[in-house]
Amino acid sequence: MNMQFLVDGLLTGSMIGLGAIGVTLTYSILRFSNFSHGDLMAWGTYATLMFVGAITALFGKVAPIAPLSFGWPLLLALALGMLFTGGLALLLDKILFQRLRAKGQMIIVVMASFGASMALRSLLEFLFTSSPAYFSRAIQIAKPIGFGIRITPDQIALLLLTAALVTAVHLLMTRSQIGREMRAVSQNIGLARVVGIDVARVVRFTWLIGGALACVAGVMIGVLVQIRPLMGFDMLLPVFAAAILGGIGSIPGAVLGGLIIGLSEAAAVQIFGAEWRAAIAFVILMAVLFVRPIGLFGVGER
């Protein structure tokens, strides 16, 4: 068997995992499935593309960093894009979800997130048309690294970036006061208030992190594949599958779920053919939930 699927799977898995962290955080802290998360990924990517354009306009063309297809403008633009997407998520919550949440019916909030998803996507198609865009047109040469595996410098860089971000989020959740407060709110929101936690602040922080990571996931897709208004929406099912597979609320679970789904998708494509890509996520999801209904790292109903 050709081992190339490992690289493809890890990359897809990283994108899915980064998206799943946002979904799992929103679910565990706000108790609703945010179906507009995929569109936050797309918005983040287009925002980053715009920032790259603005930086190029200001500083002229910048040469890429040695073997990579992109230079510091993309990194700076990504940081700005993360801020933008976090802000967009905050804005959505402020004008839409927050009011509906206060009324208490979760299904209404979920439906509203569907509506937000469609509106965000249509707006992107209106602004940028549905034809694809690219961060770079340069073709990268994939280098063989043994076992029949070939990988491009961009791919290595993005895998490292994912690892760094996931580690950072994990440390934030386990070692910092805001992380402890987030865990406290997800475990018992009433007690969190009694303890003196400002729940509204924790909610804002959750949106910021979820939005920022959605942006990174989107930009990864943009760099490695292409940028389309539908790019995030198309990721929604694997992203939710990863969050559920890992155990809703668990960040390591979301990442592991993403990697499992990414790798099995890639393996399925190689073994059975591309038409099986979408189905495999669900076969695996069902198989795991059959044995362990709360997901790999889940902790059951609270």
């Binding site: 865990r183 406290a184 009433g190 007690l191 009694v194 003196g196 936690i197 400002d198 729940v199 902790v299």
Partner: protein, 249 residues
């Protein structure tokens, strides 16, 4: 004359507008006291102290903490105002370690005071030091109450308010919890306590109020209340007899 830490005047509160559950209850807690609120099931004891702690909407009356009006302040501000509340159930974060339960409550303190305060809590509750890395949900009922109380004390409250800390515990842990509360009082903390277990609560309390239908129907010195025939007959479910005193039941 001792300082008045808590003064509640004619408090009215309820879950829905126009349906008061607490209907004009008044109590007072002096510095260093343990004050007990007793009453039959459904009398509104939990609602009463939840209203004091900002968890049930207040529609009338006033709550004054150490001279400051705190009536109807939101729950998350209460700890900053000096009132720490321990709910009846689900009063720890079950998936967080004992230490993280204390740390998260320490968010109200200046950063450099958190670690020393946790150290003080471990000195007051040595069992918790041994269990510092255990998820609070895996502890025994008695130890969980210790975590809940230590968590509340993290912020050096002026008043510690507890809702039935002995509820659902086995007899061994019940006495452990009441022993813990006397130790906490010795450490200089003023305590307001709602209890179902009248006998044990009156044994450690200084004064007590009996709440009936959302009103305080009776007030008295704790040791005398147990033997007060009217109170005993009506609300505490035992027949007072001078010969047997508090040992009946």
């Amino acid at each position: 004359m001792a300082r008045t830490v808590l003064e509640v005047r004619s408090l009215e509160a309820g879950y829905e507008p126009g349906v008061p559950i607490v209907r004009g209850a008044s109590i007072r807690v002096e510095e260093g006291e343990i004050v007990v609120v007793l009453g039959p099931n459904g009398a509104g004891k939990s609602s009463f102290i939840k209203a004091i702690a900002g968890l049930v909407p207040v529609s009338g009356g006033s709550v004054t903490l150490d001279g400051q009006d705190i009536t109807g302040a939101p729950a998350h501000r209460m700890v900053r105002l000096g009132l720490a509340f321990v709910p009846q159930t689900e009063n720890v974060f079950p998936l967080m370690s004992v230490e993280d339960n204390l740390k998260v409550a320490g968010g109200v303190l200046p950063k450099r005071e958190v670690a020393p305060r946790i150290e003080e809590m471990y000195r007051l509750f040595p069992d918790l030091r041994e269990r510092r890395t255990t998820p609070a949900g895996n502890l025994s009922g008695g130890q969980r109450q210790m975590v809940a109380v230590a968590r509340a004390l993290m912020v050096r409250p002026k008043l510690l308010v507890l809702d039935e800390p002995s509820a659902g515990l086995s007899p061994k842990f019940v006495s452990m919890v009441f022993q813990m509360l006397t130790d906490v009082r010795k450490a200089g903390v003023t305590i307001l306590l709602v209890e179902q277990n009248a006998k044990a609560a009156l044994a450690i309390g200084d004064r007590a109020y009996v709440l009936v239908e959302g009103r305080d129907a009776h007030e008295g010195v704790a040791s005398e209340l147990w033997n007060d025939p009217v109170v005993a007959e009506l609300y505490l479910g035992h027949r007072a007899s001078p010969a047997q005193g508090g040992e009946s039941r």
